[in-house]
């Protein structure tokens, strides 16, 4: 992306806003490009490339906050109409502040991939999955790349700019055997410029997906009851990402968080530590400022199971009488600012265990490898969840026969309290704009309905 603060059209637009009588002007500019390449049956399935740009304009009009978004600065009368239309509808919203010092935090630089070489790698990965005798079809085998640059500009043309992006590979395989069907998905970050490393990672993920789909074949029902549980790393990372809103200041203020009124209380086991670490190499997020221009920072959310940290944007911080924690992120570029996080990482306060050690300690339990239904079945207001799950029985300390078509249910605080062992195998999963990282965990028990 170019240095937009030098763009004559933007300079003129900001000047025009001031002439029109707008004050406290602030522009949020998001510019994004993304690419997708996928194969199926050893040929290109789809290739997609695109770029988008959005301007989110904030200002004050006759002393009241106002805002609007647009993808073009040309229809100025329309922008003026939308800005004045929103003025006065917000109660007590703080006006945008000037940027004290211009800074450029950008680190990413879009690198074009070699399409043919990338196609070759994807075909190799598909072939690797298909080499498993139970794999019938590779439904998804794709490479994705995106980069987003955000820039904040104030009425004096001071600016802050930052960017983020990643390069990822996803594979989903379908295994079939004797009328039984099972699917497994694996994904990971790749180094697309290092062809050998990319090939190795893609083939390894494809082989693991094939292996997991094979394990899931001939799944049986399981009787309802309470079972000891091992939640695989990707499952716990998904849960961790989904429940991030329980730490958001706005939800705690409005009593729409399962942690409302519990600051300082023991909400998890003493082993449990949950942090936000924008600088961790385990996560995929690389932002240095949030969408409101506040610096991101490392913070502790749960310490020895005690609820310690709250994530604030400027608005929720002002309501709580504290400072923003640098967690003002927009759910999308055209939206008003919300709350989110960078990399949120579940850790052990003490010893960590291998997956094998956890399985050996979980006789008669279930190893959960996949959950579905998070969107509706995991409620961040109450903390309750009831989710479709599948996995394998644990027999003699080992992963045994596949089980599916059952639900696991409980409450997130109850689950945190019941964690008995934390693993050493962290993986990431994206949850909105945040990245959640978790290892495998062993939980005392969960209710299972089969």
């Amino acid at each position: 992306m170019t240095d937009v603060w030098k763009d004559p059209e933007i300079i003129d637009f900001v000047r025009w806003l001031k002439v029109q009588g707008f004050r406290n002007v602030r522009l949020f500019i998001s510019s994004r490009q993304s690419l997708l390449l996928s194969v199926q049956c050893q040929r290109l399935k789809s290739y997609e490339y695109g770029n988008t740009g959005i301007y989110f304009v904030e200002a004050s009009w006759e002393g009241s906050y106002c805002c609007a978004y647009t993808d073009s600065l040309k229809d100025r009368e329309d922008i003026r109409r939308k800005l004045t239309g929103t003025a006065g509808i917000f109660d007590g919203r703080d006006l945008p502040e000037d940027i004290i010092e211009s800074r450029d935090y950008r680190g990413q630089r879009w690198r074009e991939i070699d399409r043919e070489k990338t196609l070759h790698i994807l075909k190799c990965a598909e072939a690797a999955a298909l080499s498993s005798k139970t794999v019938d079809f590779v439904e998804v085998c794709e490479y994705r790349q995106y980069e987003e640059t955000v820039t904040l500009i104030d009425g004096n043309m001071n600016y802050l700019t930052d960017d983020d992006g990643d390069l990822s590979f996803t594979v989903r395989v379908i295994a079939k055997e004797g009328g039984s069907v099972a699917a497994s998905t694996k994904l990971g970050i790749v180094k697309a410029q290092d062809q050998d490393a990319f090939l190795k990672t893609a083939c390894s993920l494809a082989e693991r997906a094939a292996e997991y789909a094979g394990y899931a074949l001939h799944a049986e029902r399981i009787p309802s009851g309470t079972y000891p549980i091992v939640l695989e790393n990707c499952v716990m990372a998904e849960l961790t990402g989904h429940y991030l809103p329980v730490f958001y200041g706005e939800n705690l203020t409005h009593h729409t968080s399962a942690l409302a009124g519990k600051k300082g209380e023991q909400v998890g086991c003493r082993l449990l530590r949950l942090i936000e670490d924008p600088f961790s190499v385990m996560g995929t997020r690389r932002r240095r400022i949030d969408d409101e221009g506040m610096p991101v920072s490392e913070k502790v959310l749960l310490e020895k199971g005690v609820f310690k940290g709250i994530l604030y944007n400027k608005k929720s911080a002002a309501q709580a009488g504290v400072k923003s924690t640098g967690n003002g992120f927009k759910p999308d570029a055209a939206a008003d600012s919300g709350t989110s996080a960078t990399n949120v990482i579940l850790l052990s306060e003490g010893e960590t265990f291998s997956r094998r050690e956890m399985l050996e300690a979980c006789e008669g339990g279930i190893y959960i490898t996949q959950i579905e239904g998070m969107f509706a079945g995991a409620d961040t207001e109450s903390g309750d969840f009831s989710l479709l799950a599948c996995g394998n029985r644990i027999v003699d300390g080992r992963v045994s026969s596949a089980v599916n078509q059952f639900t696991i249910s409980g409450n997130i605080c109850g689950l945190w309290r019941d964690i008995e062992m934390i693993g050493d195998d962290p993986v990431y999963r994206l949850s909105g704009s945040a990245c959640a990282v978790s290892p495998t965990v062993k939980v005392k028990s969960l209710m299972v309905s089969g």
Partner: protein, 462 residues
């Protein structure tokens, strides 16, 4: 501001010159307003406009899709030259001819012609009406969205169409608390229509906020849902999401064309009980999930997917229809120009039957009565679906007894569809969103009350 037809023709000519055997242009200019209200306070507001172009080409079964927020000719041709090739292959395309979309928008007022403050007043009044009926309602939230999307769609097969899609929806969330019971109960109502913001003036909105409030109060004192397998009755209306997930997604071209769906290759076979007739109809005037023309320029229509239990057809976009050697069905959709279109549902419903709800209740010794479903999802390959229920009650000896905290219903489409043994005569269509491959889309779901002889219920009490 729409694109000149001559410019669109130039883009299609270039696509053909790159050796593509199909080329398509989609352009949109969309104005949108989103408002979120908690009690009487505005939490969020976003008003704006964005436009963009999407260009898609097929080479056999390979698809390439380019999109840009900047539809400027220099930018677009630069993108095509860089990504599709330099052109130079001589080929012809079918000249463009205009297609007139189905007239389904009931708009009287364009969204931009009603001021934001007036919209906000209607919303506040409705939320207040919901809260006013019972002191146990402790919080009322309302999310409003209106959208005015103008699209142009053209392709190398000669289609040229313009359409204007104006939609409006409100989602109420009412929270009830009673210190005698502890715990907060939240219920939802989400009416919407293919109409302008005059929808807010219809008077029906306040009643929907009150209904959400009544449901939340009814749920106070709810017991943990029992686990296990039991009969389930799902009431008319948004319960239709059950069929949207249990078999709708598995009948979309993106699932069927590669042979992975549990219903692939089963056309003509009995896949449900003979009580089940499933329809997807994107041409219903005024409905939230409707379109005058789909996002590939095919007129929307009524597609009968299952008739008396027999699988009759699928929902197909152009690429997947090509893969299957069939014709597209007017089912191709996308959230916006950033997404390539694929087959998606529009308004999906089960046709009414002849059974009475009271007879359904009388037939159940112990089971669930689900008034509303919050949301669900499915894996079309395995057919495994899950739903989280909203207002739900226990049925004991033919009588509705106590409310139950939200249950999860699971199963597979092929297992459950034959178990639909009663379908009532009272039908309702409701509105929501579907999140899948080509983004977040407005959908209608509907059904009369249905009884399923046995389902797995996930709850918290053994």
């Amino acid at each position: 501001m729409m694109l000149a037809e001559s410019y669109i023709e130039k883009i299609l000519d270039y696509a053909v010159s790159c050796g593509a055997d199909y080329g398509e242009v989609f352009f949109e200019d969309t104005e949108r307003t989103k408002l979120t209200l908690m009690d009487s306070q505005v939490l969020r507001c976003a008003c704006g406009r964005e436009s963009g172009i999407g260009i898609r080409v097929f080479r056999g079964l390979e698809s390439e899709y380019l999109y840009s927020a900047d539809a400027n000719e220099k930018r677009v041709f630069g993108l095509m030259k860089e990504r599709l090739g330099k052109g130079g292959v001589f080929d012809k395309r079918t000249p463009l001819s205009r297609i007139v979309p189905n007239c389904i928008t009931m708009r009287e007022t364009a969204p931009r012609d009603m001021g934001l403050k007036r919209k906000l007043d209607y919303l506040k009044a409705a939320a207040a009406a919901g809260k006013s009926g019972d002191s146990r309602i402790v919080q009322g939230r309302a999310c409003y969205v209106d959208e005015d999307q103008r699209v142009q769609i053209a392709n190398t097969e000669g289609v040229y169409a313009r359409d204007r899609r104006t939609r409006c929806r409100i989602r109420f969330m009412m929270a009830a608390e009673d210190e005698r019971f502890g715990g907060r109960q939240i219920c939802y109502e989400g009416p919407g229509a293919m109409m302008g913001p005059e929808y807010l003036e219809s008077g029906r909105i306040e009643e929907r906020a009150r209904r959400a409030a009544r449901s939340a109060v009814n749920m106070l004192g709810a017991r943990p849902c029992p686990v296990g397998r039991m009969p389930v009755i799902i009431a008319e209306g948004f319960g239709g999401l059950f069929f949207h997930e249990a078999c709708g997604h598995s009948l979309e071209g993106s699932s069927v064309a590669n042979g992975c769906s549990e219903f692939a290759g089963k056309a003509g076979e009995q896949i449900a009980s003979d009580k089940v007739t499933l329809v997807d109809d994107g041409s219903i005037a005024g409905e939230w999930g409707s379109l005058g023309i789909d996002d590939e320029g095919v007129l929307t229509r009524k597609n009968v997917l299952i008739e008396k239990g027999i699988l009759k057809g699928y929902m197909l976009d152009r690429l997947n229809a090509r893969r299957m050697g069939l014709e597209p069905t007017g089912s191709s959709r996308r959230e916006n120009y950033r997404f390539a279109p694929v087959s998606r549902m529009t308004n999906t419903y089960i046709a009414p039957g002849t059974d009475r709800v009271q007879d359904m209740l009388d037939s159940v010794e112990k089971g669930l009565f689900v008034m509303d479903i919050n949301a669900g999802s499915v894996d079309p390959v395995t057919g495994e679906f899950n739903f989280n229920t909203g207002e739900t009650y226990l049925i004991e000896k033919g009588r509705i007894t106590v409310p139950l905290t939200s249950a999860t219903l699971i199963g597979t489409g092929s297992e459950i569809l034959p178990k639909v043994d009663m379908v009532s005569d009272h039908f309702a269509l409701e509105q929501g969103y579907c999140y899948a491959g080509s983004g977040q889309l407005p959908i209608g779901v509907g059904q009369p009350a249905v009884r399923i002889t046995e389902m797995t219920v996930g709850g918290k009490e053994l």
